[in-house]
């Protein structure tokens, strides 16, 4: 660990300082320290509290899942599903899927991984994941043929099934022991036996503060080179410690002074503080970033009228919102797709209104035509989530310029998530508009994208669009047989979603990670994983 960075320029009072430094070094015990075991100290974007990667979609818990569990299938950097724990075969009629577990899979308690474990895990996954719920409507049976082989039978073809099972984010198919997977999907698991590349050190877990992972010496990686979640997960360090630092500034200072090795999300505005340090590398891991978006509530006036929703779409623009949120143009993308830039289904179909930037005058006209009566838009602003604080502030100004009356209400994120679940009218605690962010793999297809669900009050995501046409198009997409056909349907879906203003993507941004140069081999992918990484002293 370098404590005294060469980058630190000569400063006055150097004599005094070196004297003090000497004593400080002695005091801190920095010089020695039992650093025999190779340990990666990583500051993650949030503290981990929930340890069940199936009950929650929280990214930090998903990342935890990748540490201690293996997934049934993997996905490579070309977005192609690949075998991971199991390989698969699909029957010609597209109705029978046969999975075969590879050799050498073992739980950390020493038991082998069996078909029964996989089946129970898949069933639990099927209760929680949105796409999987669609899939499981068509699953007739899921049964073991042997300890190593099991078969899934469908009632009708679902060509997206393998992609769904291989997806790297949302809810990946983490496989748990059967006894654990039997936990009701509404209750969090309490047994953290896994078969992944790392073992969870339960004794050192401090919820919200720290999680410690040790290398799983019994893990047998695949032979292929690693590529995203596919390929061999070869662990090259002894220990990985995740910590959280509630103050972004502190985290940046900590990595700058060599107290930590990895900072998952670097505040873009603070990059200048790091750029001068030759011991650090700042880069975005993988090309996919985050989509930030506004969701309108279809139930409450004035957004129950599609004309007024369109006026809002016209009044908003991606550039000013991204500028306030990100600032640095290197890390933001103005792009009209709902599926994320550079994804297979990316298209700008129907995106003109948002791409044309804020058009306040036009929005005012549209409002006039729609007969907007000045009903205030209740815009919820979370104050305790840095990545969501800026969008509402800018949006409020843009909407006001576009002729809307805006009532921006600051609240903590918990209040927001509770309130956004309310289908009541505004005066009874309902709402009109809020913002949230997704990582691209969560929105990159009409099946994954949670917003593109027209199920109304019963089934749709918060905002509750009642849009049967949209749902019909999604079914068509899921059962499409060729990639080209899927692309066409995806573009139609997006055009339709813009037409009815299902939601408003307000741009994409990238968050760079800061990596100490002592680390090597960090994989470039949307999920930060710690296999393949080496650490030098």
């Amino acid at each position: 660990m370098t404590f005294f960075s060469p980058a630190s320029a000569f400063r006055p009072a150097r004599l005094v300082r070196s004297a003090l430094l000497a004593s400080a070094l002695a005091l801190t015990g920095f010089a020695a320290g039992p650093a025999a075991a190779q340990e990666i100290r990583a500051v993650m974007h949030s503290g981990i509290r929930v340890l069940d990667p199936v009950i929650t979609t929280a990214h930090i818990t998903r990342n935890h899942g990748y540490m201690i569990y293996d997934t049934l299938l993997g996905m490579d950097e070309n977005l192609k599903p690949q075998p991971q724990m199991a390989s698969w075969m699909v029957s010609d009629d597209q109705l029978t899927y046969t999975f075969t577990l590879r050799d050498g899979l073992k739980w950390t308690d020493g038991q082998p991984v069996t078909s029964a474990d996989a089946i129970a895990s898949l069933k639990r996954w099927g209760e929680r994941d949105g796409g999987a719920q669609m899939l499981f409507k068509y699953v007739e049976s899921l049964a073991a043929e042997s300890d190593k082989t099991f078969v899934m039978k469908l009632s009708q073809p679902f060509s997206y099934a393998i992609e769904l099972m291989a997806k790297p984010s949302g809810l990946p198919t983490f496989i748990m022991p059967e006894r654990v997977a039997k936990t009701p999907s509404s209750e969090a698991i309490t047994d953290y036996t896994g078969s992944g590349p790392f073992k969870f050190v339960e004794a050192e877990f401090e919820p919200g503060v720290r999680a410690v992972y040790e290398k799983n010496a019994d893990y047998v990686p695949r032979d292929e080179p690693p590529s995203w979640t596919a390929g061999g997960k070869v662990v090259k360090v002894d220990k990985v410690t995740w910590v959280v630092m509630p103050d972004a500034q502190t985290a940046v200072n900590a990595i700058n002074s060599g107290e930590i090795d990895f900072l998952e999300q670097t505040p873009i505005d603070l990059l200048p503080l790091l750029s001068a340090n030759p011991d650090l590398t700042v880069k975005t891991l993988g090309k996919y970033g985050y989509q930030t978006m506004a969701r309108l509530n279809w139930l409450n006036p004035p957004f129950d009228k599609v004309e007024i929703r369109r006026a809002a779409l016209t009044a908003l623009g991606q550039q000013p919102i991204l500028a306030a949120l990100v600032g640095n143009p290197d890390y933001m993308k103005v792009y009209g797709t709902m599926y994320g830039c550079d994804t297979p289904y990316a298209t700008e179909a129907g995106a003109e209104p948002i791409l044309n930037g804020p058009q306040p005058e036009k929005a005012k006209e549209m409002l006039k035509e729609a007969g907007y009566d000045g009903t205030p838009i209740v815009l919820m602003q979370p104050t305790d989530v840095a990545s969501l604080a800026a969008q509402p502030v800018v949006a409020a100004q843009l909407l006001r310029q576009g002729g809307f009356t805006v009532d921006m209400q600051p609240m903590d994120w918990q209040t927001l998530v509770t309130r956004r679940a309310s289908q009541a009218s505004v005066k009874d605690g309902g709402w009109n508009l809020f913002f949230t962010n997704w990582i691209v793999p969560e929105v990159w297809s009409p099946i994954n994208n949670p917003m593109l669900n027209g199920g109304g009050k019963a089934a749709a995501w918060f905002g509750w669009p009642d849009d049967t046409k949209l749902d019909e198009m999604r079914v068509k997409f899921a059962s499409a047989t060729s990639e080209d056909e899927r692309k066409t349907i995806a573009a139609d879906i997006q055009a339709h979603a813009y037409e009815v203003v299902n939601y408003i993507p307000v741009g994409e941004y990238l968050i760079p990670a800061t990596i100490s140069n002592t680390l090597d081999g960090m994989l470039e992918m949307p999920v930060p994983v710690f296999w393949s990484v080496t650490k030098s002293e």
Partner: protein, 313 residues
């Protein structure tokens, strides 16, 4: 004395009951849903409902309160709704950092503020008095997080003398412990120095006017003995009161310092728990801090008897 202590402990029961009920109601009336935090962004209303059911949050409030109090009486503080960790384990993990910070802060505070207050009172109205008071007020007039940033900038970033953040247990070595605790402790101490220096000054001014101080001077004692042996001992009661309550309140005062210096303590645990609506954790923590407050007040009152032989219970 023992009867007094027993009586006081008995009297604190209703206080804690008031706190418990108040906090319970406040929390349950606050919008927020731990199920939403558990399930994440993609959950559907139906899924949330099932999680709420399994957490027992759909029970009537009274049932929940009775269940919780019943558990409390049997010594069970419950588990975090979010992480399933027993609340006592959580508190156990976070107690040491906060306690360390509080104790070191108190030591720094006392070592600096009491002489400051004594000297200011002694030189009442002089330039020294004004200067000492101005310095102590200055510490009080800057928000804690700014003080923290300034200290980090100077001592950790510019001078590179100390680490910028973190916590090490004192049991893992005094050196690393002190290196990490000294900046946050000084940061926090800036507030308390102001407070206690002022209180010391005020109490000393009161005492210095007493007849026995004149007597002490008439005996030909040196000013040092007059100030510290005669005056300070008599001024101890009000000072001790402030020190004690300050210490008790520090548990919540540390929140900001813990964030800035990344110390995994009780303050942050509480704020995180509030933001996540982790009811059992918040309830236990507030009961704990209230309990600490009550106990410290009791200790203060008992120590009065040692400070001042006139006080007997």
């Amino acid at each position: 004395m023992l009867a007094y202590i027993a009586r006081r402990i008995l009297a604190s029961v209703p206080v804690l009951l008031v706190v418990a009920l108040f906090v319970f109601l406040l929390l349950r009336l606050t919008p927020g849903d731990p199920a939403a935090i558990i399930a994440g962004d993609m959950a559907t209303p139906d899924q949330l409902e099932r999680i709420r059911d399994s957490l027992g949050l759909n029970e009537p409030l009274l049932t929940q309160f009775v269940t919780w109090s019943g558990q409390l009486l049997s010594g069970d503080f419950g588990s975090s709704l979010i992480s399933r960790t027993p609340v006592l384990t959580l508190i156990g993990q976070r107690l040491e950092p906060t306690l360390s910070l509080a104790i070191v802060t108190m030591i720094i505070t006392l070592v600096l503020s009491i002489p400051m207050g004594v000297i200011a009172a002694w030189r009442h109205g002089s330039l020294t008095d004004n200067a000492v008071m101005a310095i102590s007020v200055l510490g009080f007039s800057i928000p804690v997080f700014v003080t923290g940033y300034i200290f980090i900038q100077i001592f950790a970033i510019d001078l590179r003398l100390l680490p910028v953040q973190g916590f090490r247990s004192v049991f893992d070595g005094v050196g690393p412990f002190l290196a990490r605790i000294v900046l946050p402790a000084f940061t926090l101490a800036t507030i308390y120095i102001a407070l206690i220096a002022r209180m010391t000054r005020a109490a000393m001014l009161e005492v210095l006017d007493e007849d026995y101080i004149r007597t002490a001077r008439a005996k030909g004692l040196t000013e040092r003995i007059v100030l510290f042996r005669h005056a300070l001992r008599n001024a101890a009661v009000p000072i001790l009161t402030v020190v004690g309550t300050g210490f008790a309140l520090m548990i919540s005062g540390v929140v900001v310092t813990e964030s800035v210096f990344n110390i995994p303590g009780l303050g942050r645990l509480t704020v995180d728990a509030i933001l996540a609506r982790d009811y059992p954790v918040i309830q236990a923590l507030i009961l704990l801090t209230s309990g600490i407050y009550v106990v410290i007040n009791l200790l203060i009152d008992i120590s009065y008897a040692f400070m001042d032989p006139r006080i007997r219970y």
